[in-house]
């Protein structure tokens, strides 16, 4: 029985420019982006109508000026009865305002909805891409990067980019429309005054940009102070035993006080500076408003502007002032988003694991494994494997004995192709491992570690994580083979028991057996037990392996252990020491030799107390 062909999709990412990345992230959002831009244009234009209605009412309906509305509107008014009709029916004007407001409401609704949809879609794309990519980055990349840092990039930095590209980028459009539309309206009513207004725009934008540029490091400092304070609390709570055992409560409190005071003082200082900056900004905008009102009033008093124009002008100007200040802030925050973007890009630039062959030409007849003259080092400096050569025939049981750091686990990781070798060759079924798709190899080589990683999901999902389509019966069968079914059934929630932080705490032996069940369900022709029976008693150990043999007759088993009893039944036993294979042979052959295996055997198997008594003797001397 062979595993079905399991092939990766061959989606690889190359180093990408910011723009091509941007394109990928915005996939499916473009429509919403355009919708948001159009809707914001609609909102701006509609909102610019209302002051014109006020102006018309004040100047033409209530006053005696000629209508300044475009011809077709005038024609329409004529049709319903002209200005004189409106003078008697002011409610018609009110109705017009309400209709415009309703349309504006609709546009506003669309604008907000499109903005949110674009943004959420964008965020979803980035998160999905990151998750996809992170899982496919080679182990070497993961070894080189700190988990906490990667998570930070995947979460906080994504949030910063999302906020920027959605809220702020779209806001830039909206504000720009507002400036253009308001300015056009103002310009059409009074050119000089409009130009005076325009002169203030760069001033306000520049002031705000400088302000946020200057204040940012204050806030950063305050943020860092919060981080330090937070770390003190965290460490105090995790280290509570040490604090208490040394009676250091006062010292801790003093340390906390210092950070706490610093944190609040820095914020108060940042607040104080901000208050001044804000107020100065208010004064500048206030002066702008005063200028418009005073000069406008002056012009109007001279008869060069109507009351309605004056009111409309003041309204447009009022609509303009605050968004412009926001614009300055957005510009100054662009650099922040840029930094986050680069931090995310760093992850996406890491090259995914790839197969030179995506398609498996022909399935190996017999899945024999051969290492020939393999040298390996994680850091190019300290060799971990030296000239490792061995062969495992399909269906054999192989034992591996070795000390800490002897390289035995490395051999298994290389067999899984979690790392690439530079010297020597690994073949599976006579085909070089490099010529086989990684996904095929991994689907055929199962590995259980001494401290297996379980996902914080239910036990059922954990067992099925190598084969999500498995049936209930298959899952339980696998658990029975791993001798863990009974233990699982003892939990109140059985197979639905949650594992990990939010669920039950499993013992080391239970974890190992669940991981074994997971591998059994994966049904790999090659199974590696990397010291993974260490927390299981000898009897269960034997039971599990017998059940496995029955379940799958031709399984190749590689068992790493430091217990001779676990290894002695193997067809071939390898003893590894300092990265080399020192001895190999059957149990009997190795016993016959005066080597490491024999020594270990004697230590573990001697049944009498002499060894202890010897020890005691030594001490008494």
């Amino acid at each position: 029985m062979r595993q079905p062909l399991f092939l990766g999709k061959g989606k690889y990412m190359k180093k990408s420019s910011k723009w091509s990345l941007m394109r990928r992230f915005t996939k499916g959002s473009i429509g919403y982006f355009i919708g948001a831009v159009l809707a914001s244009l609609g909102v701006t234009v509609l909102n610019s109508f209302t002051p014109q209605v006020f102006r018309y009412t004040i100047d033409t309906v209530l006053g005696e000026n000629e209508s300044a509305l475009p011809g077709f509107v005038n024609a329409w008014i004529e049709r319903i009865g002209g200005v004189s009709f409106l003078q008697g029916h002011l409610w018609w004007i009110a109705a017009a305002i309400v209709v415009i407001a309703l349309l504006a409401w609709l546009m506003n609704y669309l604008w907000r909805l499109c903005t949110a949809s674009a943004g959420e879609n964008f965020a979803k794309n980035i998160r999905n891409q990151l998750f996809y990519h992170v899982q496919r980055l080679p182990m070497r990349w993961h070894d080189q990067n700190k988990t906490g840092d990667i998570i930070q990039r995947c979460t906080s930095d994504v949030e910063v980019i999302r906020n920027f590209s959605v809220q702020q980028l779209l806001e830039v459009f909206r504000i720009s429309f507002m400036v253009v539309v308001s300015f056009t309206m103002m310009y059409s009513m009074n050119q000089k005054l409009a130009i005076i207004v325009l002169l203030f725009v760069p001033l306000i934008v520049a002031y705000t940009m400088i302000f946020y540029g200057k204040i940012r490091h204050r806030y950063q400092e305050a943020d860092e102070a919060e981080g330090e304070l937070s770390a003190v609390v965290q460490e105090n709570a995790t280290g509570v035993r040490v604090v208490r055992a040394f009676g250091r409560e006062s010292f801790e409190l003093a340390k906390f006080d210092e950070k706490n005071t610093r944190f609040s003082d820095l914020w108060i200082l940042a607040g104080r500076i901000s208050a001044w900056f804000w107020s100065c900004g208010d004064i500048i905008t206030g002066l702008q408003i005063v200028t418009v009102i005073v000069i406008g009033a002056y012009i109007a008093a001279r008869g060069n502007m109507t009351v309605g124009e004056f009111v409309a002008f003041a309204t447009y100007n009022g609509n303009l002032v605050w968004p412009i200040r926001r614009l300055g802030r957005i510009f100054s925050e662009m650099s922040k988003a840029g930094v986050s973007f680069e931090r995310v890009q760093y992850i996406l630039d890491g090259e995914e694991e790839k197969d030179d062959v995506a398609v498996l030409a022909n399935v190996p007849e017999k899945i024999d494994i051969a290492f020939s003259h393999v040298n390996f080092s994680y850091d190019e400096e300290h060799p971990v494997l030296k000239d490792v050569t061995f062969t495992v025939k399909e269906g054999q049981t192989i034992g591996v004995l070795g000390g800490t750091g002897s390289g035995k686990s490395t051999v298994m990781q290389l067999l899984e192709r979690l790392y690439e070798i530079k010297e020597g060759e690994i073949t599976i079924g006579g085909i070089s491992a490099n010529a086989l798709p990684k996904s095929w190899i991994r689907a055929n080589v199962g590995l259980v570690l001494q401290e297996p990683f379980l996902f914080s999901r239910t036990i059922r999902e954990n067992i099925a994580s190598g084969r999500p389509d498995a049936t209930e019966e298959e899952i339980r069968e696998a658990a029975r083979i791993a001798c863990v079914d009974d233990a699982i059934m003892e939990f109140a929630d059985g197979y639905d028991t949650l594992v990990g932080e939010r669920g039950v705490t499993l013992s080391g032996g239970q974890r190992q057996r669940i991981a074994i069940a997971r591998m059994v369900l994966q049904n790999t022709p090659i199974m590696i037990f990397d010291d993974s029976l260490s927390a299981v008693d000898a009897e269960t150990d034997i039971k599990i392996r017998q059940a496995l043999r029955q379940f799958r007759g031709n399984t190749t088993m590689i068992i790493i252990s430091h217990r001779v009893t676990t290894l002695m039944g193997a067809d071939e036993i390898y003893v590894m020491h300092h990265g080399r294979i020192r001895e190999h042979g059957t149990h009997e052959e190795l016993i016959a030799r005066e080597g490491i295996y024999r020594q270990i055997y004697e230590i573990q198997m001697s049944q009498d107390d002499r060894r202890f008594l010897q020890e005691e003797g030594k001490e008494e001397k």
Partner: protein
């Protein structure tokens, strides 16, 4: 730990809960008054601004008159300057209130945490404690400092705008006021919806973070299981859920906020129609109409503000309750009043009254049950450890070996019976007195952020540099320092994260030995450590055990053999006790345990 999940919170507003914040507000009453009163002034100034436009219309534009426009401009500018000055005052006062109140609450919690017993820490996740101290207090302080003054601003603005409108034209004002209930109802309706959706967003967000965490830490397993695609699928499910909930929030907001603006326009339209009519009849000046229109457009945002802030404050009640809950926790262990009187308390010890400790520990008929346990783990237990003797505690992982240590250190107290230190029940002395006499080395040693030197000095704060280095040398921790770039001044990272377990252990030995304690508590490491460090730790252990009363949760054969007494623990209970030889001869549980350990250690030696 499901009990600590973010719980649904929908208790009604309860002013009594908030009264408990008063002591924290009291020291800043001056600033609170300033913030409040400046907000009143600011609201009044904001109400005054539309009058300028109206004045300009009625006095300059309509009569075509420009005299007095200079004074007009000057007054306008002055009012803006006055407003800015009050604004600065308000912001400063609010920041002071927010940050200092937050600081005081944090301090109160932290101080209280230093008094709480282990039974609290053992049942409460660190993350929960952390967010009680950090985020809850931040939110409460923010609400009190800004929420309340915003509420005041909004209320004053709304009330006085109506007052002004009623004075100007009561009929028109009445029409505008009819819209207020709609806005309030709408806000209440949408706020409730948002609350639920936002909770969902937060929940999914933490699930996404969790998924990233697992995807990264479990990457090796995922690869060997070829589980990438399945994980991708699950993850895409999460991001889809996130998308769904976030868009739902946005949809509510997309209806809600434009609606408030819409009401403003409706009000303005009514004002224009009705007011325009009055202008036609010369019953109202054009300028007054312009004031009405400005008010109509601007009043509903503060009305909505009032409703929103009230909703926020009510939901913030949950944070207040959580903080108070922490402060209300009773320490399981505390000194009797007369003991406190004589020996001082945690933060004000009277060291001059402390008796020196010899290190003679006696368990006298001690029975013990963990506060959350169901059965006794110790029953009528007696043990006498003369000063300077070592007791080794052995047993499988999870067998309950730390119970005796917890009792001896008074991290827990006996349920019945007594524990005597130098012949006196330790409850007759202060907790701090005992703790200052203990040197503690943990299996997974905990270091604090800071330098190696600071971490060693944690053992005795007044130790000189020379003493620190001397202690380090005694246990070979100097080799750890020597390896680092800045020697003793090297940073160890958060929780000592920049050092290996073995290195951390050596530092913690130095820390313990510097304290010159009468009693040592040592939890030997089980994790595999490289041979060289292993040897150093072995030496350090020997150094520490010499001449000290010690409890050792032992894993090393040499440590066990050297002990004056061995206690064998299984399933939470002491099943065998005696010297090494006695226990071996018994050929019982200890014999099996020892022979297994012996094999392992000897095997390891073969490979060394």
């Amino acid at each position: 730990m499901a009990a600590y999940d973010e719980q649904e919170y929908n208790k009604p507003f309860d002013i009594k809960v908030w009264f408990r914040m008063l002591p924290f507000m009291k020291p800043f009453r001056r600033q609170i008054v300033i913030a409040m009163s400046t907000n009143v002034i600011l609201a009044l100034i904001d109400i005054a601004f539309p009058f300028f436009q109206s004045y300009a219309i009625d006095h300059f534009i309509v009569p075509q008159e420009t005299s007095g426009i200079g004074l007009f401009a000057l007054t306008y500018v002055l009012l803006i300057l006055v407003q800015s000055a009050f604004f600065i005052l308000m912001i400063n006062a609010s920041f002071v209130v927010e940050m200092n109140m937050g600081r005081d609450m944090k301090r109160a919690e932290f101080e209280h945490l230093q008094r709480l017993s282990f039974s609290y820490y053992n049942t409460t996740p660190v993350g929960y404690i952390h967010s009680r101290v950090m985020s809850d207090t931040n939110r409460i302080a923010g609400q009190i400092a800004w929420g309340l003054s915003d509420l005041l601003w909004c209320s004053i603005y709304v009330v006085f705008v109506f007052v002004v409108m009623f004075i100007l034209d009561w009929k028109l004002a009445l029409v505008v006021s009819l819209i207020v209930p709609f806005v309030l109802f709408l806000t209440n309706f949408f706020e409730n919806k948002l609350l639920g959706y936002n909770r969902k967003v937060r929940k999914v967000n933490s699930e996404i973070t969790g998924a990233f965490n697992e995807g990264i830490t479990g990457v090796r397993t995922t690869k060997t299981l070829v589980g990438e695609e399945a994980n991708d699928r699950d993850f895409r499910g999460l991001t889809q859920k996130m998308h769904h909930s976030s868009v739902a929030v946005a949809r509510v907001n997309a209806v809600f906020i434009p609606s408030i603006m819409f009401f403003g326009y409706v009000a303005a339209a009514i004002v224009l129609a009705q007011g325009g009519h009055l202008v036609q009849l010369d019953l109202m000046k054009l300028g007054t109409l312009s004031i009405f229109i400005s008010y109509a457009l601007n009043i509903f945002e503060p009305v909505q503000g009032i409703a929103s802030i009230v909703a926020e404050v009510i939901s913030c009640q949950a944070n207040v309750e959580r903080v108070m809950d922490l402060l209300d926790q009773e320490p399981g262990i505390h000194d009797k009043p007369e003991v406190k009187e004589k020996y001082g308390d945690t933060f004000a010890p009277k060291k001059e009254n402390w008796e020196p400790v010899q290190g003679h520990i006696t368990f006298e008929d001690v029975s013990f049950m963990y506060p959350d346990g169901k059965e006794y783990v110790l029953e009528h237990f007696n043990l006498d450890i003369p000063a300077g003797r070592n007791v080794a505690i052995v047993g499988e992982t999870g067998a309950g070996k730390s119970t005796l240590v917890n009792l001896a250190c008074r991290f827990y107290e006996p349920t019945s019976g007594r524990i005597l230190i130098d012949g006196v029940d330790y409850r007759e002395r202060s907790e701090l007195w005992l703790h200052s006499q203990i040197g503690y080395v943990l299996q997974n040693p905990h270091l604090f952020s800071g330098t190696i030197r600071e971490n060693i000095r944690y053992g005795r704060l007044d130790a000189t540099d020379a003493e620190v280095e001397e202690a380090a040398r005694k246990v070979s921790a100097d080799e750890v320092a020597a390896k680092m770039k800045d020697g003793y001044e090297s940073d160890v990272g958060e929780g000592g994260g920049l050092l290996s377990t073995g290195e951390k252990q050596l530092i913690s030995f130095a820390r313990a030995i510097l304290a010159k304690p009468a009693i040592f508590v040592l939890d030997e490491a089980t994790s595999s450590i490289d041979t060289k460090t292993e040897q150093l730790i072995q030496n350090a252990t020997n150094e520490v055990l010499k001449n000290h009363t010690a409890f050792v949760i032992a894993h090393r054969l040499s440590t066990i053999r050297q002990a004056d007494l061995i206690l064998v623990v299984n399933d939470g209970k002491i099943i065998e006790r005696g010297t090494h030889k006695e226990l071996l001869r018994k050929k019982g549980y200890y014999y099996d345990l020892y022979s297994r350990q012996f094999e392992e250690e000897e095997s390891r030696k073969v490979f060394a």
